[in-house]
Structure formats: C-alpha cells, structure tokens
C-alpha cells in the first residue's frame, strides 16, 4: 500500500508533466500567432515603365523613418524589421513617384513593388540679370516718381 506521501508525489509528477506540456503548447501557439501577425518582408523594386529593377531605392517605415533599407544592385531588398498589418513602407527614388505601400494580413513574404515615373510637367522660367518682377518694377517706378517730384 502506497503511503500518502508517495501518492502525493505521483499526483504532483502528473501535474508537472501536464503543466510542462501545457506551457509548450502555449509557446508554440504564441509563436504561431506572432508569425501570423508579424512577418519579414522581402521583395524587388521595379520600374513600371520598363520592368527593370531599381537599385538604390530608399525603403523606410513611415511611422519610424529611421528604420529602413535600400534595394541592392538587382533591386532586391529585405526589410530589417518584421512588419505587421497596417505598417506603411515608403519607397523613394529620385525621378520616380514616391510610393507608399500598406502591409495587410494578406501580404505575402515576397512582394513586387512597381514604381512609376513622376508625372510632373517640367516648365521653366528663370530670371536673367536685369529682369524685374512687377513688385520690383513698381518700386523702381515709385522711386523715379519721387525723385522727379523733388
């Protein structure tokens, strides 16, 4: 016949095993949950005009702009921090339209970012030496008039 102490020890052993198994299950679930809400984003940046990779694109997190990376010589990148749904990445390259890209629950781990050319219309009117803007011209006219009156 087992003593009360042995029965307690046996019962206690089972409790410990159950507790350990529960903890392991808990950790696995937490890890799986974390993976589903936050993930590492890799991808490529391409020109929308010619489908060519765009190297040197600055890619940063809009909410914390000090966190970022650049696309490499093949246009590839891996963002240095896992991202979650709702995070916004900014892609910037001179001459191309700055693109904001929102991470969603459906975002795959590898993404293709197409950047279009900036559609601004280039116009030009510089001042040459001796040109006067209406304000300056008006002032000069007033000065001449004052001088003429004295």
């Amino acid at each position: 016949m087992k003593s009360k102490l042995e029965i307690f020890a046996q019962g206690s052993g089972r409790s410990w095993k159950t507790a350990i198994v529960s903890l392991v299950i808990l950790f696995i679930s937490a890890a799986a949950f974390a993976q589903s809400t936050s993930q590492t984003i890799r991808g490529i940046v391409k020109s929308a005009e010619n489908n060519q990779p765009v190297p040197g694109t600055n890619i940063y997190l809009k909410s914390q702009s000090s966190v970022g990376t650049f696309s490499d010589s093949q246009g590839q990148f891996e963002f240095p921090r896992p991202l979650k749904a709702g995070d916004v990445l900014v892609f910037s390259f001179i001459g191309l339209k700055t693109t904001e890209w929102i991470i969603s629950d459906q975002t795959a781990g590898y993404v293709v970012i197409e950047m279009a050319e900036d559609p601004i219309q280039m116009v030009d009117e510089i001042l040459t030496e001796g040109d006067e803007t209406p304000r300056v011209a008006a002032s000069a006219k007033r000065i001449r008039k004052v001088k003429a009156n004295h």
Binding site: G56, N58, Y60, S65, S66, G68, F70, V90, S92, I94, G95, K97, T98, E100, E117, D118, P119, I120, Q121, M122, V123, D124, E125, I126, L127, T128, E129, G130, D131, E132, T133, P134, R135, A137, A138
Partner: protein, 219 residues
C-alpha cells in the same frame, strides 16, 4: 481636397508670410544647409534627415531644405531653352512624348550635375519636405517679369511651391531665390534672394499666377 487647399491658401492664410515667425532665428537652419553643400542627390530621404533632424520647428526644417536647394542647385540654360522651344512648337501626342523624354533628361542632369529647370527646384523642395514630414505641393502657373518672352504668353511657364507650416499654407519660389542667369556669359549666377521665401501672398501673386488655382496632387 485641392479646392480646400486653394481656399486655405488664398483665404485663411492670405497673410501667411515669413513675418509670422518673428521669434525664429533661421541662422541655425542656414548653417546646417551650408554644412551639407554639394551633398549628392542619389538619396533624398537621407539628405532630408541630415538637413532637418536637428531642428525642432516646422519653419526651421523647411528653411534648411529651402536654403539647401537654393544654394546647391543651378538653373540649366540649355535645358530651359530646349524645353521652351519644343513646348511652343509641339502639341498633342508629340508634346506628351517630349514631356516624358524631357523629364528623364531633367532628372538625370539633376542627379549627375545638380542642375535643373524650375520644376526641378519645386520637385526637390516637395520631395525633401515630404521626407521631413511636411506637407508641400508643386504649383504650376504663369510667371511675370520684365524679361518675359511675349511669344510664350499663354503657355504655363513656371513652377513654385506651397508648404503647410503650423497648419497655415505659405508660398515660396526656390527658382527665383536661387539666382539669375547671365545671358552674356551664358552662366548661372548663384545669388540667394530671400524675398521669395514664404513671401506675402499678395506680393507673390503680382508675379505668380496659378493655373486654375491648380495644385499638382500626385500622392
């Protein structure tokens, strides 16, 4: 949104100008801009960070950006005359093709030689402001001064910026602040003119007419 911005610019902020900041000493922003003279344009985000991260107010951040652009970028007379000629000569699809080709030329020249046409100035101001967290837009329209070519009247000829600082919209013209072109020497003369920095709108509108109040809204 666009209409609201225009109302805001010409309504509530009718007197928005640099004198709104009497307590601001811009010398710190100016010295930061000077520290990064000739900084490459390959990465505008990094440049914007360098120019603005040590400054706390929106007006100082914008000042550093504005001063850097005006002091480091030159107007390119060759690009200017080439574009002007083709924009007056061509129409329709041919003009659209030219605009596309010319955009690439401008951005290449901007990156490689830090030279541009006036929309290039406005573009840089907008992009650097965006990376610094400031709302800024390009405005296209007509510029008026004594040397204007009368044959080009009616064709959009200039770009400038509107920027929102502390919830008010301000106007500025980085091209005209940066210097003047010497036609005899065929050289751009860098000569910073502070008058066009957050100029009083009523003065600004004497030489700048926005096309239908158009504010280019690309993002």
């Amino acid at each position: 949104m666009r209409f609201a911005m225009i109302l805001c610019l010409f309504g509530c902020s009718a007197r928005a100008q640099v004198t709104d900041f009497p307590a601001t000493d811009f010398s710190r922003a100016d010295s930061i801009a000077k520290r990064y003279t000739a900084h490459p344009l390959t990465d505008l985000k990094t440049l914007a960070d360098k120019l603005t991260c040590a400054l706390s107010t929106e007006q100082e951040k914008f000042r550093a950006i504005y001063k850097w652009v005006c002091s480091n970028i030159e107007a390119d007379y060759y690009l200017l005359t080439l574009n002007k000629r083709n924009r007056t000569k061509w129409k329709g699809a041919k003009l659209a093709r030219w605009n596309k080709k010319f955009n690439r030329m401008v951005f290449d020249k901007l990156q490689q030689e830090q030279k541009t046409v006036c929309t290039g100035y406005a573009y840089l101001i907008r992009e650097l402001s965006f990376h610094a967290g400031l709302s800024c837009e390009i405005v296209n329209g007509y510029a008026r001064h004594s040397g204007i070519d009368k044959n080009t009247v009616g064709i959009t000829n200039h770009s400038w910026n509107v920027v929102q600082l502390n919830s008010k919209w301000y106007v500025c013209d980085a091209t005209w602040s940066s210097g003047v072109f010497n036609l005899d020497a065929h050289q751009f003369v860098k000569k910073y003119d502070d008058r066009y920095f957050l100029m009083e709108p009523s003065l600004f509108s004497q030489s700048h007419y926005a096309v239908n109040g158009l504010v280019m809204k690309d993002r």
